[in-house]
């Protein structure tokens, strides 16, 4: 048996839920990437009458404007993953660098940045996002901007505490005693050791970002209504819930499944990437 197969088997035995989550995430990513090819219709294209129940021609029915729900759910995967991935990568990267540098520098830079983070985190996340959207106006890119602003301070705070621990460790002290420059200490010793935390932050925050995007669109202040956002589709469905329950069912299941799978995968990655948490009792 090849080494790769053996390793896969061990992973499956140790992290069965994580592997299941990864499989669903793979399907989700494939759907998102291939939406233009796979989806039978365009996301904004009115194809048939309104409120056609699920059937052979439209497996998930059509919505209040006669658009194919299946196509919109597929394009919705694309939108959700795009928003989630971009905002988390940008937010967590900026936040991590911010946390590492201010944590390492210490002093006034560190204290003042901690107080700024306090101020941002004093605002409940959805409320901050809501007021940001009120200020910048509705669009997909503005949702990404709002999410980035939401995620940066949390990431900065988490990574800072990790960086502080590393900066106080004997090998950094040794490096400093050997005359290594500050820049080199940060780049060679602290940055690489924060990588595990960075990966965990990215994977665990993607599902959160997706939920916040959907919540904003659900409240009618996220992506514009014609964009195929799962949250926005759910709002439209709520208005016609008695006659067309499929309009709430399919987008709702899509988002729950995506979040569930991403959570499972995130938990597994946390177990693997962060040895301190491995074998925890939770």
């Amino acid at each position: 048996m090849s080494a790769v197969a053996a390793q896969t088997r061990r992973l499956l035995a140790r992290q069965p839920l994580g592997v299941a989550g990864a499989a669903v995430v793979l399907v989700l990513v494939a759907t998102a990437l291939l939406a233009p090819v796979l989806a039978p219709h365009g996301p904004k294209e009115a194809v048939f009458g309104q409120f056609v129940p699920p059937g052979r021609e439209f497996p998930m029915g059509t919505d209040n404007l006669g658009r194919d729900v299946l196509s919109r759910v597929m394009w919705g995967a694309r939108l959700s993953l795009y928003v989630g991935l971009v905002s988390v990568l940008v937010g967590v990267t900026i936040g991590s660098l911010w946390g590492i540098f201010t944590g390492y520098l210490g002093g006034i830079a560190d204290v003042s940045s901690q107080r700024v983070i306090d101020c941002v985190m004093a605002l409940p996340p959805i409320v901050l996002a809501l007021s940001l959207m009120a200020a910048v106006g509705q669009s997909v890119n503005n949702v990404i901007l709002a999410l980035t602003i939401l995620l940066t301070p949390t990431a900065a705070r988490t990574v800072r505490s990790v960086a502080l621990g590393i900066a106080a460790s004997p090998y950094v002290e040794a490096a400093r005693a050997a005359g290594t420059s500050h820049v080199r200490i940060v780049l060679r010793h602290i940055l690489p050791n924060c990588l595990a935390t960075y990966i965990v932050l990215v994977t665990t925050n993607i599902s959160y970002a997706i939920v916040v995007e959907a919540s904003l669109s659900f409240l009618g202040v996220g992506a514009p209504p014609d964009e195929p956002s799962w949250g926005g589709m759910l709002t439209a469905g709520t208005q016609a819930m008695e006659t067309a329950p499929w309009l709430i069912f399919f987008p709702g299941v899509a988002i729950s499944l995506a979040v569930f799978a991403l959570n499972l995968l995130g938990d597994a990655i946390r177990d693997i990437a962060d040895p301190r948490l491995r074998g925890g009792l939770g």
């Binding site: 107080r115 700024v116 306090d118 101020c119 941002v120 985190m121 004093a122 605002l123 409940p124 996340p125 959805i126 409320v127 901050l128 809501l130 007021s131 940001l132 959207m133 009120a134 200020a135 910048v136 106006g137 599902s207 939920v211 959907a214 919540s215 659900f218 409240l219 009618g220 202040v221 949250g231 759910l234 469905g237 709520t238 819930m241 008695e242 329950p245 709430i248 709702g252 988002i255 729950s256 979040v259 569930f260 959570n263 499972l264 925890g280 009792l281 939770g282």
Partner: protein, 338 residues
Amino acid sequence: MQHGPRVQPGAARLQSCAVQVYVVHRLLLFVPTLLGASLLIFVLMRLVPGDIAQILVYQTGSEQSSVQEKQIKQIRTELGLDKPVLVQYVTWLGNAVRLDFGESYSQRRPVRDILLERFPRSMELAVLTMGLAMLWAIPLGVISAVRQNTWLDYGVRVLSISGLSLPIFFTGVLILYLLVRVFRYLPPLEYSALTENPVENLKQMIWPALAQAYYISAPIMRLTRSQMLEVVRQDYVRTAFAKGLSDRAVIYRHALRNSLLPVVTFIGWWGGRLLGGIVIMEIIFAVPGMGTALVQAVSYRDYPTVQAIVFVMALIFLAVNLIVDLLYGWLDPRIRLA
């Protein structure tokens, strides 16, 4: 610590001194953080492309442009938009301290009246949600830990992980759908005050509270379970068992008490998410609280109202965190010196 000598009188004085420093430190941070948060929102609101006066005038849709120009100028002076942002902020803050938050554009009445009317409703929903969540999450967490790795444990864990994966707006819509379609029951959509008609009030409030409590209870369950598992392995619990106490006494009197400490902090951490969730729940179940007012104000670009509501929410969130921190220091003496 348990086997160490009794704490010296000097050390005790040092300890109580540390508590005071800690309390003062926390209190000192409270006001600047609140001010910073409100300044943040204030500046954000002024980053609007175009300005508020223009938006207001063009919404009313009057025809003549010279009249509009005049109106815009007048509104700018009225709102003080012609002054620098910092001056505007100080003016706003000065009024806010006297509980004057200006006039709401969309509702044409003082923002203070809106706050006074809506605040108790949202707080009722928040308290109801937290209460319901803890009501079933803590016992289930204990059962799950005591019966570790049995089908009961797996059941509770699946329940909690699925609770975390269902976005609350979907749970809310599903509950509404089930009530309407399956049980043929429409919860009241007219709000009745808790003091006037408690039954009607609860009939409306219980559903949004349940929907969000399902979500909030998931992490409480997980936390209670993992804490119980950790505490049950401690020496003093083994001692309690060894001296022949009943299972029930050991679990509830010795283990659970110490497991609940982190659950207290949890309320602080999740206070923000709870408030955000309240906004969504109020929209779905037509509860006229602060969240509904906020979303409405956001869509009308009614800035004085948005600003005041966000300010109040930050105040609640910070106050809850402060109380939780102080409470934690009081409940767990080990924290005080840390």
